[in-house]
Amino acid sequence: MKSRIKIKITMLLFILAASIALGLSRGAVDIPFLSLFEMPNRPILYLRFLRILVAAVAGSGLAVSGIALQAILRNPLAEPYLLGTSSGAALGAVIAVILGSAGLYLPPAAFLSAVLSVTLVYAIAKQGEHIPVQSLILSGVIVSVALSAIIVFLVSISSDGALHGLMWWLWGSLEVYDMKLLSVVALIVFAGIAAIFFFSQDMNAMSVGEEYASHVGVKTEEVKKILFFITSLVSASIVCVSGIIGFVGLIIPHIMRLAVGPDHRVLIPCTCVAASAFMILCDMMGRTLLAPLEIPIGVITAVVGAPIFIILLKRKQRIR
């Protein structure tokens, strides 16, 4: 039992190493792997390295947020954007573009409006000291739909060509244009994952049931509030650098739960490795499939992720 987990972890690390090598060596321009490290090719190596870094940060952050939300909401459909971060961020970005200040202010506008929409979702769901899980999911859906309607309205009345560029951002991109922003976000995501990992046991018990968790001494209301805050902060920060990348936060947690089991103390580290590898590979495909055109990474994650998930699910059912 224990040794099987060790083998799986070794395999995951191997896959990660292989995807890093692939991500570095493949790109819009074909350069042999070894000559990448020669002096004239250094800038290309550096750019590819940065993208791998963003892929790892965004992938692990989204997947671990997904894990936390699925556990505390006890809902298999929960994902990091459930509580309104994606639609909030998108609205902020659209407004920034319409006001003509997209270049510099798009990330802070997206972040602020993501935080605002999560706060709104939270305020609607809250009943006194208590946050019922069902009303939180409902208010998340309602706020997202309302914000999306506003976005469509704004896009339809504006004739700005820049909004077309924005649609591309809405499907996610790992292009790095601001090193400072990336370092801040990486720091937030890293701290967030560490904090979520700290609550592993609480999430184990809470994924069984809230009262069940209370009966082994978990302070469920407190844990819920902390984890909502952390996951919102993490996903809002990621949206700022990479746009909205769907599916990773939903599907990687499920795949990893099938692979290594539901114990969060094992699941979270394994998921970080797997999500990073998955994102690096998806990004590599997005860059090379139609080079020099680039396919938005959100498209690739959906197209690649869905079949993998279906195959695993069917196999698991057959075992039962």
């Binding site: 298999p76 046991q201 018990a205 209370s214 001494g217 103390r265």
Partner: protein, 273 residues
Amino acid sequence: MANILSVKGLYGGYGSQMVVRGVSFEVGRGEFLGIIGPNGSGKSTLLRLATRILKPSAGSVMLDGKNIRSIDSKAFFRRVAFVSQDTIIQFPFTARQIVLMGRIPHLKRLQFETRRDLEIADRALALTDTSHLAERPIDSLSAGERQRVIIAKALAQEPELLFLDEPTSHLDIGHQARTLDLLKKLNMEKNLTIVMVLHDLNLASAYCDRLIMLNDGVIYREGCPDEVLTYQNIEAIYHTVVLVNKSRITSRPNIVVVPGGVAFTKEKRVNNG
């Protein structure tokens, strides 16, 4: 016999609705106490108040003379465990992982279970006759198997006081008897104090040393099964006509429902006024 739990003037409920309205009782160490009463009489709410899940509006619950609100929640659940009616679990934890969660109050954050924790979990699995299910995912077990695993989890907490909320209501008669026999054995051999809500009056009569009969959020009667389970008391709060015999095996009250008796009580009430 020193009292392990003492409940004084307890009021509590949900929002402004008081479900438990002034309940006081004591539980002696090593006692097997049953709580009975009709649906909505406040039995489950009383257990939730006594296990820190709900905050009382008034009154207090003392564990060994200490108010439970002032005890740290992990420290509290190292001494007290709770088994609920039926737990539906969606995540594919194995039975052993579920039982090991009973060790959470004993562990520090991020600490993995020690060999000792694993031994305690194995013993709990063996006691509840679920060792053969240890590696099975909990969502693939039957209701009876699942309930025994949940009881094993409670035992893995190594409690002095065990609360159970209708632990047998989803079980067939064989599993009901086996579960209650196990609880009786733990009660006799390990001096585990048990406070159990039960719907089945005959099981309550056969297994409990003492019964508390709740009605409308207050204690209607309290005492040994002979004193509490009279046809007058049962008719008064359940509005049902029953025949109370003496069991030939336990010589405790044995309740038989009289078919059509509900209509009879209604008629009588109409005739009387």
